[in-house]
Amino acid sequence: MRVRPFAALLGAALALAAVERSAAARPPRAAPAADAPRAIPLPADAIKRLQSGDPAQVKSALDDVRTSARAGAPAVPAVVKLLQQGMSLPLTQAAIDTLGDTENEGASEALAWYARHRNGGLRRAAVQALARTRGPAAVRALRLALSDPDPGVRGLAATGLGNMKAKDAVGDLFVALDHKIAEAAASIGQLCAGNECDRLAGKLGSVPFDVVTSGLDEVLFRPASDVSDDLKVKIVGRVRELGTGEANRFLREVQTKWPKTWSQRVKQAIDQAVLATSGSPGSSTAEPPPGGAGGGR
């Protein structure tokens, strides 16, 4: 079997992206329900410890802010100030991670500095944190990070832009996809509109199948208010036209996951596509489509 390096890299990249997406897909925090864990309040002396100048106290305070997550917002200016004054590498890393956990836009400018640090680990941490603190500064930094010399940073930036719903970055993400930043496909799938989604589908055949479908999967499972049924049917048709085993496997997965309450028209298109590709080389025709109604029944 011929090993394709890009495909191998792609697997790892997609796995990473999937983790990111699943994290991002978590429902936003709402007001705590009666049975939900309560947010841990920021200790009263946390900010004082952050300003102490003592590395041990600073570290313990950062840990506390991190534990408080969004509730640690009052400490964000102090942490930002620490980053703007400079700290040792471990404390810098901890501060970046902490700011990410606060998901506070006020941290984005300082994090953007470190998204350009010479230390690749700090850059990756900063890019991940920026994807959570959001805001225009974060979008600017992540778009710039798509051109980073480190492929890890580029991939995280692409994923982050999708999670941040940075629709203005779709053009950059297409360029990134053309430059083998596989994570860009899923983000495009999260952000694309009309022709852009069609353009992504048009990558089938020129970009590895798994990469493109990581984006098409996102498009298909966006709500109808965001992506029309017409477009979804068109995308299903594009995949169906490939007539390959991998197309059949992808369509079967979509068929399995398709919510029962969602468009029956799209579901019918998926069912027919599964049937039409079931005889393709490499498709698992021996098994009936799991959970699918099967257009031919």
């Binding site: 590395p55 980053l83 703007q84 004054q85 400079g86 700290m87 040792s88 590498l89 404390l91 810098t92 500095w113 470190y114 350009r116 640090h117 010479r118 230390n119 690749g120 700090l122 850059r123 798509l146 051109s147 980073d148 010399p149 580029r154 950059d172 360029v175 990134a176 430059h179």
Partner: protein, 611 residues
């Protein structure tokens, strides 16, 4: 048994040579018991033939084509191209008006203008060493099988063997003048053989390596590593007082030779030594001898270079489309023949192309002989030396790297902004070889002009999405701009401080330059860099950059800057390398007392920036 067979073959070869009669000589020629006669005998020869006119030899290019079984002749200055099919076992030679070639068990002479056969003789497979011709008789030397000596054969244009001499001495390429064969041998002697009787009538000892004799420009010359003229001073040759001429010593890529040894057959197919050669044309003068046009030439694969005769200063470089295989210096320039069979005449003064001709097909080897032809005309593409050097050093051809390194040094010595641009381009190009890159960066750092080209380069940054995968040469540019105190470049340099794709030493140099040229506009970037790296610098380069930036902050912000730097100098988290130097920096620049602040470098920079 094998040895016996080889000897038998050699004898057979000798027998074949003499098969058709002619004067045979087996005298005590080329004896090493000879005592230097102080130039008496060669003086007599000079008196005898010195005033004899020497006709120019043929101006012709001979290509070896096919599977070394085809000769293509291209007369220069008029005449039709000719071809002659014959196997070759050595490189052909042009002598007088004939082309001599060996192969297929015979030696033959062709009319250089028409390619028609003048004579042919069997050789038994001995390869040609060299040939001379005076219009009546052709003298050819061969190396005997097993490198056991040499054979000299003199054949009249009517095909009759005039003389045949065998010797165990290594003979070189001979010349003929007025019935006398001038035969170099043993690397230091030229024996004069009277072809009428076969006697060695004279001998001269030369004080430089000599294996070739030839006529050129109306004179007879001996040499290999240089030129010795046969004139009235030849009698003093053994005292090293003959008219001698050499090409100035200078660094050249590939250590090319002026002439290959005449004592070993040249292979029919050209090799690397043919591609890296020196060409020069000696001319007799009233004072003795000089190089024609005050020039000599060198080739290195597909580059040709012209040098001044005096100190060997580079005058021009010609970048060609194919490797040169052969050539000859002429009056007015040099004629070169390439592996594609193209013949190019280059102007001595500028290196511009004077004319081009074509042998019609690729060649395996090429022999060029120019004597009477004077190259003239207006060069078609003469460019300034800086532009020629730029073309040569930017050529994407790995085999040229050695020459490019040398040419790069030549380029660096030019006070021309184009040279700076070329260095910037070369140091920015991802295809530039690592060896060349080192030289280019060093040269760029030493430039003191062309700031606009450097600033244009600094505008580029590594950009994966837009396929800019090599950052500009920030370090060398920073060194140059810092030395030139180019304050207009400060913002560009500052942007590179924060670029993670730049190398550590590039960042160090950018910071050092900013310590000189930064102004208030750069303060935000300087503060950011200082904060980001004072405690996270991974190595001494970045720590040194922190110190330089600290220096700039001190210079630009009397109080705030000092407070920031002082705090860093006290903070144990600041990396040791930077902390120690920041402390020293603060100590060397005491805080100005209020109301008595002297004008610091910062303020000077500030004023200049405001201007």
């Amino acid at each position: 048994m094998k040895r016996a067979r080889m000897l038998g073959a050699a004898l057979a070869a000798t027998a074949a040579l003499v098969a058709c009669g002619g004067g045979q000589t087996k005298l005590d020629l080329f004896s090493t018991n000879w005592t230097d006669d102080g130039g008496v005998s060669i003086g007599h020869v000079w008196q005898r033939v010195g005033s004899a006119p020497i006709a120019p030899s043929a101006d012709v290019v001979i290509g070896v084509a096919g599977h070394t079984d085809k000769l293509i002749g291209l007369p220069l200055g008029g005449g039709s191209k000719w071809t002659f099919a014959h196997p070759l076992d050595a490189r052909p030679a042009v002598a007088g008006s004939v082309v001599v070639a060996s192969g297929g068990g015979e030696v033959l002479a062709l009319d250089a203008k028409t390619g028609s056969v003048l004579w042919r003789r069997p050789t038994g497979g001995l390869p040609l060493l060299g040939a001379g011709d005076d219009g009546t008789v052709t003298v050819v030397t061969f190396r005997r099988a097993g490198n056991t000596g040499s054979v000299l054969l003199a054949v009249g244009h009517d095909g009759q063997v005039v003389r045949q001499i065998e010797t165990d001495k290594p003979l070189g390429a001979p010349a003929v003048l007025a019935g006398l064969a001038f035969v170099p041998w043993a690397g230091q002697y030229v024996s004069v053989i009277d072809l009428a009787n076969g006697d060695e009538t004279a001998r001269v000892t030369l004080r430089q390596q000599t294996s070739r004799a030839w006529t050129e420009g109306g004179s007879l010359w001996f040499g290999q590593v240089g030129f010795v003229r046969f004139d009235d001073r030849i009698r003093q040759a053994s005292q090293n007082k003959a008219t001698a001429l050499s090409v100035p010593m200078r660094e050249l890529p590939g250590t090319p030779k002026l002439m290959p040894s005449g004592s070993a057959p040249l292979p029919a197919v050209a090799n690397a030594e043919d591609k890296t050669r020196i060409y020069a044309r000696p001319e007799g003068t009233d004072a003795g001898a000089a190089l024609a046009d005050g020039r000599w030439y060198a080739t290195y694969f597909r580059l040709a270079m012209g040098f001044g005769a005096g100190k060997g200063k580079l005058a021009w470089v010609h970048s060609h489309g194919a490797d040169f295989l052969g050539g000859d210096a002429a009056a007015g320039g040099v004629v070169l023949c390439d592996e594609q069979g193209k013949v190019t005449e280059l102007d001595a003064k500028t290196g511009g192309v004077l004319s081009e001709a074509d042998l019609g097909e690729p060649v395996e080897a090429c022999v060029v002989n120019v004597d009477g032809e004077h190259l003239h005309g207006t060069p078609a593409d003469a460019k300034p030396l800086a532009d020629q050097l730029a073309s040569a050093v930017l050529a994407d051809d790995p085999q040229l790297v050695e020459a490019q390194k040398l040419l790069l040094r030549e380029l660096s010595s030019l006070e021309d902004e184009t040279a700076t641009k070329t260095l910037v381009d070369l140091a920015s190009d991802p295809r530039t070889s690592p060896d060349l890159l080192v030289v280019a960066r060093k040269a760029l750092a030493a430039r003191r002009n062309g700031a606009s080209y450097m600033e244009a380069a600094l505008e580029r940054h590594y950009d994966y999405l837009h396929d800019v995968l090599r950052p500009p040469p920030v370090g060398p540019i920073a060194q140059a701009l810092g030395a030139m105190k180019e304050r207009g470049a400060a913002s560009l340099l500052a942007a590179h401080l924060l670029d993670p794709a730049d190398t550590d030493d590039d960042v160090k140099d950018a910071a050092a330059a900013l310590a000189v040229v930064a102004g208030p506009d750069q303060l935000p970037t300087l503060r950011q860099f200082f904060a980001m790296y004072r405690a996270t610098a991974a190595d001494d380069d970045i720590a040194a950059a922190v110190v330089s930036v600290g220096q700039a902050l001190l210079a630009l912000e009397d109080e705030t800057g000092r407070a920031v730097v002082a705090a860093a100098a006290k903070d144990p988290a600041t990396v040791d390398y930077a902390r120690e130097r920041l402390e020293a920096l603060l100590a060397s620049q005491p805080a100005p007392s209020p109301g008595n602040a002297s004008e610091s470098g910062a303020k000077k920079n500030d004023k200049k920036n405001r201007k």
